[in-house]
Symmetry: C2
Subunit: 152 residues, 2 copies
């Protein structure tokens, strides 16, 4: 009798535990990608994300960045500071609500962003090729499902 699907209740095989596997897979991919933009631009993860989000929206506030790509607000605050120091991002005070700062890319920032988009697309493309189109489709559908689950 084949008991390969019966779970041993006494021991947890970490390498078969779904949250662990998901975490490992994600971590490996993220690390490989991070390596790319760290080498290229010297950006940290939160900085890359903040930068990419500002680029995506054109103009956005720190709070909105937090909402769109979940990060702690101190992370965003520090990332913005770093990006500002590099002159890739500039702030503009909102005229009607002086608490708000609208963030946008400088001209230099825009040039870098263009490159970043390209690097990201190439990476994604290569990644999809490396696991195969079919499995990539499965992955997309699985991610849809997980995202749906967390919206509910």
């Amino acid at each position: 009798m084949d008991d390969s699907n019966i779970k041993n209740a006494d021991i947890l095989a970490l390498e078969k535990f779904l949250p662990y596997r998901l975490n490992q897979a994600s971590e490996k991919v993220s690390q490989k990608f991070a390596q790319e933009y760290k080498k290229r631009y010297g950006l940290t993860r939160p900085e890359w994300r903040t930068f990419a989000t500002i680029g995506q929206f054109g103009t956005i506030t720190a709070r909105e960045i937090c909402n769109h790509s979940p990060m702690h607000k101190t992370k965003v605050s520090r990332a913005v500071f770093a990006l500002e120091k590099r002159r890739w991002v500039k702030r503009t005070q909102d005229p009607t609500d002086r608490r708000l700062e609208h963030l946008e890319l400088t001209t230099t920032g825009q040039a870098t962003y263009k490159d970043l988009v390209n690097v990201a697309n190439v990476f994604e493309e290569k990644f999809i090729q490396s696991i195969g189109d079919q499995d990539a489709q499965l992955l997309l559908r699985a991610l849809d499902a997980i995202e749906r689950r967390f919206e509910a």
Copy 2:
């Protein structure tokens, strides 16, 4: 004409970027699970992993833990220390190679581990139900593919 699959080359939509989505999904699941064992046992992530790995293998060295579930060796070192202080883990010097320490669970540790395994299995089961069996199957196959990719 339907251009929904044509990628705008100028802007990167973060929420559609595969590595980002994978990372978010993983992070959400991990956080939800971490919440469980943090509340229950007060364990940090590296501690949980170290503990689970020792439980899985019965006897294992710190180095082997690093190899099996990729963590920096300082993380493991500190986790072992914390687990030892709680008296969930004990060390034994290797008689032939005195650099090696064999780690195993104490009796208390074993009891906790039993509970941990149960909590983990219940969590996994509920997670699979929550996204649906079919999508869970897709996820498993996608993870297989990613893992294969990183072994090569």
